[in-house]
Amino acid sequence: MTSEAYIHAIAVHLPKSSVTNEQLHLENPDWEMDRIAQKTGIEARHIASPGETASDLAWAAAERLFEDNSADRSEIDYVLFCTQSPDYFLPATACILQHRLRLPVTCGAIDFNQGCSGYVYGLQLASALVRSGTARKVLLLTGETYSRYIHPRDRSVRVLFGDAGSATLISNMPGGARIIDSVVGTDGGGWQNLIVPAGGARMPKDADAQVESEDENGSIRSQANLYMQGQELFAFTLKRVPPMVKQLLAKTGISDTDVDMFVFHQANAFMNEHLRAKMGIDAAKTPLYLREIGNTVSNTIPLTLCSLESKLESGKKVMLAGFGVGYSWGASLLEWGAVKLMPSQSMDQVPNDAAQVLEGSSE
């Protein structure tokens, strides 16, 4: 069997409310938001409202695909949901989404727990399901609400992360963006550097775990909050991402100059810009899309793709690369085709800064 897998439609959804740098500065007068914004490239982030979960965001994105007739719910035979903010410990949130989206009972449904590498992981899994003939139409959902884990006084993460959801239809029908190949990698040695320590089986979320303390940078958090060691994450990214990109180019027999667009996980403008310069890629080929939305974890790649409508043409080679929490990383190479892109409706006011280049960049 020589079946191929294609992406046919991508929809994204952002929660309505947005927290701006001005608001963060009012709350935390000691946070130098201008300086932080200059580094991160982030001026606002959308935040889920109380009671709104990651699956609500993914659901809203998926409903748009169905309402638009970009996907037919009766034909979905597998749903993959990527999240680190599940509705419950059990059941799998994907089961709840199967029911809520009125997908067939013959449909497979699983959650998988990945962060910034999650979208690429989802494409690799969906492609494997489709190419093997196991499934014909896979719905890949991502949804993340890191805001729930973030202590409001933790500058290191609060300025960066935003919430979002996405839905992608992958099938064996030719015409969409062909998933040429993917590579993934793992270094669990970095597991402690981006983590919510308490609340799972290893560390109960008891009274001790909820004791708040201040770190050397003046940020406050408990063991039940998100913790990020930014320097370690930065060092990891510089070490692993360039070889990953080379590995995928070698595997697919394509040279870097033949790649028309590199859609990297939108970690922050400083990191992405340094990564781009290190790899010697043209700024015009590496879109930045985080000014009004922040780092949305597994949603950054579909959000960026949806912002690129006019720049993506059939036949163009597009490399996607995700990297972060785990440590986990992955890259996929696509040959672009007819893909319905549906930017978030609450993004109407969001400027398309796809060609934005970090100010003060040395390149």
């Binding site: 300086r35 930014g230 320097q231 060092a235 340094h274 040395s362």
Partner: protein
Amino acid sequence: MKAQNLIDLFAEALEVPPDTLNRDMKIEEVEDWTSLTWLTIMALLDEQYQVELDAKSIRGFQKIGDIIDYIGTKTTVEG
């Protein structure tokens, strides 16, 4: 590279004139030397000298000279 090149690099990261920094200064006493400064230094070192700095080493540095000495173990640094 010369030790002065590294002082220049730290000054660039801090956006201050190089002559305001010297080997014997305590890092915690340098104004505006934040976690963001470290990220900038990591990026500049990687870009200009292909030297990787990790968080564990950073935590061990007391004085500016400690950083220069550490980099000296990774590459040649002349007085």
